[in-house]
């Protein structure tokens, strides 16, 4: 029955059904769409993905694109299948008016559309689950996810053009999937950052390093360029030579972008903060802005305690870990924290949160001093013994109790010595110090 005849006799809904049925029969991606949809739904509603992101848009955006291992490999296989169909039909060898590139782009457009729709599905499900109030998505992360999807589809195109479908389809499925899931498990950081897949990024004190965003995009562009060359250049040798050269250059560039990063593709978060107060000036991330009055009051209270003991009060109390001159007062809070937890975090933030950088390469024996400092701050701020006991080990509590029995001047001297020990790697001795 011709389409014209069908149009004459069918009503609009039935006509729409006919279009969908035709698309379903014609496109491999349409057949795979229900599978992709179910996998993305199951992933996006899992306990891991739905867990709190503390109002941080970057974390939520990375959760959205963490569905890539369930989307990109299937899209790669579908595009390999579609290109294989064109190849079997002799389309690339005919004298058509449209170029092979145009015909291929048209053929894989549904595959790309289904892939994008799957990421949109992930966003639609994940965002309401994790959002607490207004959260801005991170455009760089989403752009990276989209680029990775396009790269995988282009990868499928190359395989489908070069190999018979019986090898290209399962091969592109396996290789695409292995590329996304295996490198993150390797102990070679730069390979991990090339894939664009990271389901544990990021704490709200970090942001994605620019190189970690660019590297997967550069690789995706190189694979897309390779597909372009394979489809456009007649000479097989020339096409592959050029494609390989482009890919190798882009790979070298991508590796150089991520080679300096650690195991996580992050750097300290910078950007506008919500601030209040003057002694100290308290600054929090925008997603914690509604907690600012409470935090400012807590910070003012502990500043008064420090002043009472004649100790230096840092000018700014902040959530940001970005380096700054002068003594640091860095605290970490979450939207789910209780008021007591927030107060404890703010108070303990006057002391360092961990060993100094030099302790990675040298011996450092001031761990107890550091914990004792934190416990002293908690107790002086009026928090309970139970809270302090949950914070530090008993040895450190013993030091604190010993110091609390001494006069204020003695406590202040101990405080200064312990702060010095906690921020350097030199050997120390003295009361309460190992």
């Amino acid at each position: 029955m011709s389409v014209a005849l069908a149009r004459r006799w069918l009503h609009a809904p039935a006509r729409a059904l006919l279009v969908v049925r035709s698309a379903f029969r014609r496109d491999a991606a349409m057949k795979a769409a229900p599978v992709i949809g179910m996998l993305v739904y199951a992933w996006a509603t899992s306990a891991f993905v739905a867990s709190s992101v503390d109002g941080y848009g970057l974390t939520a955006s990375m959760r959205v694109i963490s569905a890539l291992p369930f989307v990109a490999p299937i899209c790669a296989a579908c595009s390999a299948w579609e290109v294989g169909r064109l190849r079997r039909g002799g389309i690339y060898d005919t004298t058509s008016c449209r170029s092979g590139l145009t015909v291929t782009a048209r053929q894989i457009a549904p595959t790309l559309a289904i892939g994008v729709a799957a990421l949109v599905e992930s966003a639609v499900i994940v965002w309401p689950e994790v959002a607490t109030g207004w959260m801005s998505p991170e455009p760089a992360a989403l752009a990276m996810g989209l680029a990775v999807l396009v790269g995988h589809v282009a990868f499928g195109v190359v395989w489908g053009r070069v190999l018979p479908a019986v090898v290209a389809v399962p091969g592109s499925l396996v290789v695409s999937y292995a590329w996304l899931v295996y490198p993150p498990a390797l102990n070679i950081p730069w390979i991990r950052h090339l894939t664009g897949f990271n389901d544990s990024c990021c704490l709200n004190i970090y942001k994605l390093a620019p190189g970690a965003v660019l590297a997967p995009i550069v690789l995706a562009v190189s694979v897309t360029a390779a597909a372009f060359l394979v489809l456009s250049v007649r000479s097989r040798v020339l096409a592959f030579g050029a494609a390989l050269a482009v890919f190798a250059s882009c790979l070298a560039l991508a590796v150089s972008l991520v080679s300096g990063l650690g195991f996580d593709p992050v750097q300290p978060r910078t950007g506008a903060m919500a601030c209040a107060g003057s002694f100290p000036r308290v600054c929090v991330w925008p997603e914690h802005a509604r907690m600012l009055p409470e935090i400012a009051a807590d910070a003012g209270q502990i500043a008064a305690v420090l002043s009472h003991y004649g100790l230096t009060v840092p000018q700014q109390a902040t959530e940001s870990i970005a380096p700054r001159p002068g003594p640091a007062w860095v605290f970490g809070i979450g939207l789910q924290d209780s008021p007591a937890q927030v107060r404890a975090q703010v108070a303990a933030g006057v002391a360092p949160s961990g060993p100094p950088p030099c302790a990675q390469h040298a011996s450092w024996s001031a761990a107890n001093s550091l914990m004792a400092l934190q416990a002293w701050l908690l107790l002086r701020d009026g928090l309970s013994e139970a809270t302090a006991n949950n914070w530090v080990i008993p040895d450190a509590m013993a030091i604190v109790h010993r110091e609390l029995a001494k006069p204020a001047a003695s406590q202040a001297a101990w405080f200064r010595q312990a702060m010095h020990a906690a921020t350097t790697c030199a050997a120390h001795s003295g009361p309460g110090l190992p």
């Binding site: 899992s46 294989g84 019986v166 389809v169 292995a178 899931v181 295996y182």
Partner: protein, 219 residues
């Protein structure tokens, strides 16, 4: 007459033994039509990667959010499945009207690969539990390939074993237990998984014996 033919005549000669030798040599037509040498190469490559990888595991993100380490031995046999799928895709529609039992030859070859896979994996891997996983999965994937030829056609036949392996790794783990259907990732001592994999292989052999080469070419 070609030199190879004269040689064969000299070797085979008249008589029953000669006819048996000639018949055995004639299988070279089938061997070349299926490119069965590539199957042997894929078999060797799979076994080599299993031996070299040993207990190395690929962390597969599951739908619960956790990652589960899955041995390479689960995925390496897919090489052979893809090679066999490629060989089956070279079947001709005219073989449907053959006098010789060409489907029986195909089935026998694939069965031999499955049995050899189990035997070699057990012996050569040096780690029996990896060998059992590899041999079991090799048999099961070959069965899925043959079923895929019937269900999906020649060109898409290998999608079934590959897809099943990945889906088993993604969805098969649930709170520390493995689903009954996820035999590719089951523990080596799981006799139900072994039975299911071997049953799949048997179902594939039966399906192949009853399938039409011409119909499989329609995708």
């Amino acid at each position: 007459m070609r030199r190879t033919q004269r040689t064969w005549l000299a070797v085979s000669g008249p008589g029953k033994a000669g006819r048996w030798i000639e018949e055995a040599a004639a299988i070279s037509y089938w061997w070349r039509s299926r490119c069965a040498g590539r199957d042997l190469a894929a078999f060797a490559a799979a076994q080599t990667s299993i031996v070299l990888a040993g207990t190395v595991a690929i962390p597969i993100p599951t739908l619960t959010g956790a990652t589960t380490p899955t041995p390479v031995a689960v995925f390496a046999p897919l090489l052979l499945a893809i090679s066999v799928a490629t060989g089956l895709s070279r079947r001709l529609g005219m073989e449907d009207v053959a006098v010789r039992r060409i489907r029986l030859i195909d089935s026998t070859w694939i069965l031999a690969l499955a049995v050899a896979g189990l035997a070699v994996a057990l012996v050569a891997s040096g780690r029996q539990h990896i060998g059992i996983i590899a041999g079991r999965d090799m048999a099961g994937y070959l069965g899925l390939t043959m079923i895929g030829c019937r269900m999906l056609g020649n060109q898409a036949s290998a999608v079934l074993p590959v897809g099943y392996a990945i889906v088993s790794a993604m969805l098969g783990y649930n709170s520390g237990t493995i689903a009954w259907w996820a035999w590719p990732v089951a523990a080596p001592g799981d006799s139900a998984a072994l039975a299911l994999a071997l049953g799949t292989c048997l179902a594939g052999l039966v399906t192949l014996a009853r399938s039409s080469a011409a119909r499989a070419m329609r995708t």
